[in-house]
């Protein structure tokens, strides 16, 4: 494949082609496909996945099915310099897994403290929205971890990426996906 073709593929692919490991073999999948194929997680624990999916789905409906946990897990499992996470732009210190562990742990602990030992995933939709609304305003009592509004910003960005950063996402918004036209030859 020529460089020009490779660039065109990458541009058109959006978030549709990340490297996951299935059965010891690297395969290119979208986060949605990775979730559907139950690709094992490398970095996140089952509890963190549960919290992340509950938070992601609350922030951007569709994020769970779109594979937010597989996106984040895959991105935390590669070198920071190759990551595509908004965390890079938000001045978070690598390894980014430290931030995500702290953030998801804070969400889980605060939710349990406020809701009779129920984590975010165990709350109903109304309760989740109420919790996230307080979190974004930094008003969750007993919060311990990265600032709630910052956690909201970072995780919402991830949820937006996984739901709308794809060609399907653009189609869902009714916006034509128009990647740049590849140059005919190298500059």
């Amino acid at each position: 494949m020529s460089e020009i073709e490779r660039r065109a593929l990458m541009k058109g692919a959006a978030l549709s082609a990340l490297a996951f490991t299935a059965g010891g073999v690297n395969v290119l999948l979208s986060p949605r496909q990775a979730r559907a194929q139950n690709i094992p997680f490398k970095t996140l624990t089952p509890e963190q996945v549960e919290t992340l999916e509950a938070l992601g789905e609350t922030l951007v409906p569709g994020a769970k099915q779109a594979g937010i946990s597989h996106l984040v897990d895959q991105q935390l499992s590669i070198p920071p310099g190759e990551a595509l996470l908004e965390a890079r732009i938000l001045n978070i210190r690598p390894p980014y897994a430290n931030f995500y562990r702290a953030a998801l742990g804070a969400v889980d602990k605060a939710s349990r403290g406020q809701n009779g030992d129920r984590g975010l995933a165990q709350l109903n939709e109304s309760e989740r929205h109420a919790f996230v609304d307080l979190m974004r305003q930094n008003k969750v009592a007993g919060w311990q971890g990265p600032a709630g509004p910052f956690v909201y910003l970072v995780l919402r960005s991830d949820a937006v990426d996984v739901v709308y950063g794809t060609m399907d996402g653009y189609a869902g918004l009714g916006i034509p996906y128009m990647p740049h036209i590849a140059p005919e030859k190298r500059w």
């Binding site: 310099g81 990551a83 938000l90």
Partner: protein, 114 residues
């Protein structure tokens, strides 16, 4: 190389650093240009909001201090090319209140020429 004496050391191979290095080198100076990020090639650069994040910093965070710390990472680049890596050649026209940021927001300065 570690013990070689040079005339100038420039930290950061962005638009300014590379230009200064070039000018100084052409003037006969021995220059070392230090850069912590990758040596990007044209074929590495992809016009994409998501994939374009690879040219953002992925090392030690910027130290943001002072009364009004500024989230510089949004404007920063990483590697040879620096912030110029995400230069879009896009210059939105300024709005009237862009010239009154001190008066309206108590930040920066108002436009000084009337």
């Amino acid at each position: 190389m570690a013990n070689e004496k040079v005339d100038v050391v420039i930290v950061g191979a962005g638009a300014s650093g590379t230009l200064y290095a070039s000018v100084l080198a052409k003037a006969g100076k021995k220059v070392v240009l230090l850069e912590s990020g990758p040596d990007w090639q044209l074929s590495d650069l992809i016009s994409s909001d998501i994939w374009g994040r690879r040219v953002k910093p992925a090392g030690i965070p910027f130290l943001l201090e002072g009364k009004n710390p500024y989230g510089y990472a949004y404007q920063a680049g990483w590697g040879v090319g620096g912030a110029a890596l995400h230069y879009f050649a896009n210059f939105p026209r300024l709005l009237p209140n862009d010239f009154k940021v001190k008066s309206e927001h108590n930040r920066g300065l108002d436009w000084p020429i009337s």
